[in-house]
Symmetry: C2
Subunit: 421 residues, 2 copies
């Protein structure tokens, strides 16, 4: 398609989405759930078709010489397909957030004022290789009463279109507009440029992918973006920490999974407890093959550690690497986190009441924790149900973004003929 | 100042604001209230100084030949000064939103998850002539634990600086950083361009002023903007409306004040009740000097009406002008509002339960009302306390934006050593 054609195509997608969003906003809960269940059924039934479409993408990816991690993310297994269907059924089981009225209270004028939860409208999702995002994002947007425009990675185009067919079938089965979920058919980058600037048709953009993708989109966008940049997460072990909890948490936060955004990247240890906890932790990490990088003080305790550079403190490794720093106390720990962290998820291990309270209040991150692991920071663990992403922004949504993050609230005012004097 | 100097100046203002915001985030409620009260005291004490500074601005404005409405907005009276001080005392009396923890509940893993209300950080306010915004905005930002950067209109520079002196004195009295509220000292437009693009130092921009200002800022901004564009508000009189309520509400929504954003600009009347209500309403409006513009059907009932053009339906008159249209029923009324309205405030007058419910759910505006006047849409009437503006956006804040709109929520997680399996 030429640039002009892409503009026309995207404008038409946007117009359809806006029209569909009006119908979705008033769709009944039962119809939305019926669509989700029908989508799940279609995905299970079409397992072979989805695998075949995915094989096409995988062949092309291998021919292009894409790296192994990318091919891994691109691959749809039978289990992955079953999980997609299961995810849609879980979304169907969540309470419908739309229409909920809260805080309806009488004012001195006699009017009654409250808030009603409403959809955002049209949500644009831009993502990279993982085809399962097509089903997850469609399901979440639909349940929250929105229309969605999905733009997956070009390398997943056949998989995404095959999933989109199941999604459309589900919408049609429930009598909902098929245009409520549209998957962009062109792999041209210009389509993204259009999507993120169509202010009249798109209410919010959610990019999911690497930092590069997200920065590019944030810079181009004229539509609000709910974004997640780095996850440089910390655990701070206070000198009043319980020893067993400290070891268990610092181990789990780093080694339970290395590649997730809520994995600890820097361990901060109070000087007064360093000699006690670091040898034990050092052994655990080194046994598991974690490379350690430390400041001078921690290297004096664990010999086989590389020196940490200034850059290490703000690096999201997403790998078996951990930086360690010894601090003088709570103030220095909080300063370190607010300076080098990415406002994602940070935890303190302490038995001290006042320090726990101060950490919760003063660390400026989307999740702040006491005596537990940063790995808990996700939508399922928080009870939000599925998540569309984790926001490191402060506006609109912070932390794991589930159904509620895809909604807004309007004021409702009930009167009996009152007027303003 | 040269463009380079302005860039340096603004960067330095931004850096100071970011540093101050960290201190403000953990400021105690008592200290914030003390600052607000000391500001109010200083403003009352400096009444003569404020009047003298304002006189300078007024002289310059008159010399420049600014229009009367602008001079009216620029003028600080003794009463205006007393109201500014009173406004600050009212903010001091509001509950502190910061630190409030809600929904702290146990998850199956044993962790307890809730949300804590936290400041946004640094808020940039860009406004036009009214100098009282300097005190109002400073007070609201401070109470919500933020640092503020204020950029008033160049025509109010002396008034704003005089008010800023009182604000700084209040902060100092309470031991809070004076840089928590900074008033930009240059009137150069380039300073605004810097302010709305300093992503590292500014978390959100709130523009207050005419549509031109707001559109310009939205287009330039790289920082999120909480904005309020038009107020094209509607009242729909259903054929099952109570006659007396309909007359009272339609009168009040238009004529109680003409220049406010929540004033009705278009009246929609059900065909079945038009012959009954329009003659009575027409008389009221014409007696008060309101110019009426109608569709053919309504002009057949009220003779002295000009024809409404397509443009009228989407015009915010802010003046004694009203457009009137007769519709076939609720569906057409909702379609009209969603098509021509500005998603600000819209009301239905009806005794019909189902239609009232449908109107509340299906009209996509920041305030939707039953049997009361659009004029109630403001922060004080809704019980939010003072408002920093009315948002017609859907992201983050919708409708009147008070203290809560200047905050965010982070997740707090309390554990007892739990880790993820």
């Amino acid at each position: 398609m030429s640039t002009t054609d892409i503009k026309h195509y995207m404008q038409s997608v946007g117009r359809e989405a806006r029209a569909a969003s009006r119908l979705m906003a008033r769709a009944e809960t039962a119809h939305k759930n019926k669509a989700l269940i029908a989508m799940a059924d279609a995905i299970r039934r079409d397992e072979q078709k989805l695998l075949a479409a995915n094989a096409k993408d995988l062949d092309a990816a291998k021919a292009k010489g894409l790296e192994a991690a990318m091919i891994d993310r691109l691959t749809l297994s039978q289990k992955g397909i079953a999980n997609m269907a299961e995810g849609l059924l879980q979304i169907a089981a969540l309470a419908d957030p739309i229409g909920e009225i809260t805080g309806l209270s009488y004012r001195p004028s006699g009017i009654q004022v409250g808030k009603m939860r409403v959809p955002l409208g049209v949500i644009g999702i831009i993502y990279e290789a993982r085809p399962n995002v097509t089903a997850d994002a469609a399901g979440l947007c639909l349940k929250a009463g929105n229309a969605a425009i999905l733009r997956g990675g070009s390398e997943a185009i056949h998989s995404n279109q095959a999933i989109a067919t199941c999604v459309r079938e589900g919408l049609a089965t429930a009598g909902l507009p098929e245009t409520a979920v549209q998957v962009i058919e062109t792999t041209d980058r210009a389509a993204v440029g259009e999507l993120v600037t169509m202010q009249e048709f798109v209410d919010v953009i959610v990019p999911r992918g690497g930092k590069g993708l997200i920065e590019r989109i944030s810079n181009e966008a004229r539509v609000p973006v709910i974004k997640h940049l780095d996850g440089v997460c910390h655990v701070y072990i206070d000198d009043q920490a319980d020893f067993d909890k400290a070891i268990k948490i610092a181990d789990n936060a780093k080694t339970q999974r290395y590649g997730t955004c809520n994995t600890m990247e820097t361990l901060l240890v109070h000087r007064g407890i360093a000699e006690k906890v670091l040898p034990a932790l050092g052994k655990i990490y080194l046994d598991k093959g974690v490379e350690l990088r430390g400041d001078d003080a921690s290297r004096a305790i664990i010999a086989s550690m590389n020196p940490a550079t200034e850059e290490d403190w703000s690096t999201e490794y997403l790998a078996p690497i951990l930086s360690i720093r010894i601090v003088d106390g709570l103030d220095q720990a909080i300063d370190h986190i607010n300076r080098y962290g990415s406002q994602h998820t940070d935890a303190i291990v302490t038995e001290n009441y006042t320090r726990a309270r101060r950490f919760l209040r003063e660390v400026d991150s989307s999740s702040v924790m006491v005596n537990t692991t940063t790995r808990f920071a996700d939508g399922f663990e928080y009870g939000l149900g599925a998540e569309i992403g984790i926001s490191t922004d402060k506006i609109h949504a912070r932390g794991p973004v589930g159904l509620e993050g895809l909604t807004s609230q309007k004021f409702v005012v009930l009167g009996d003929g009152q007027v303003r004097q």
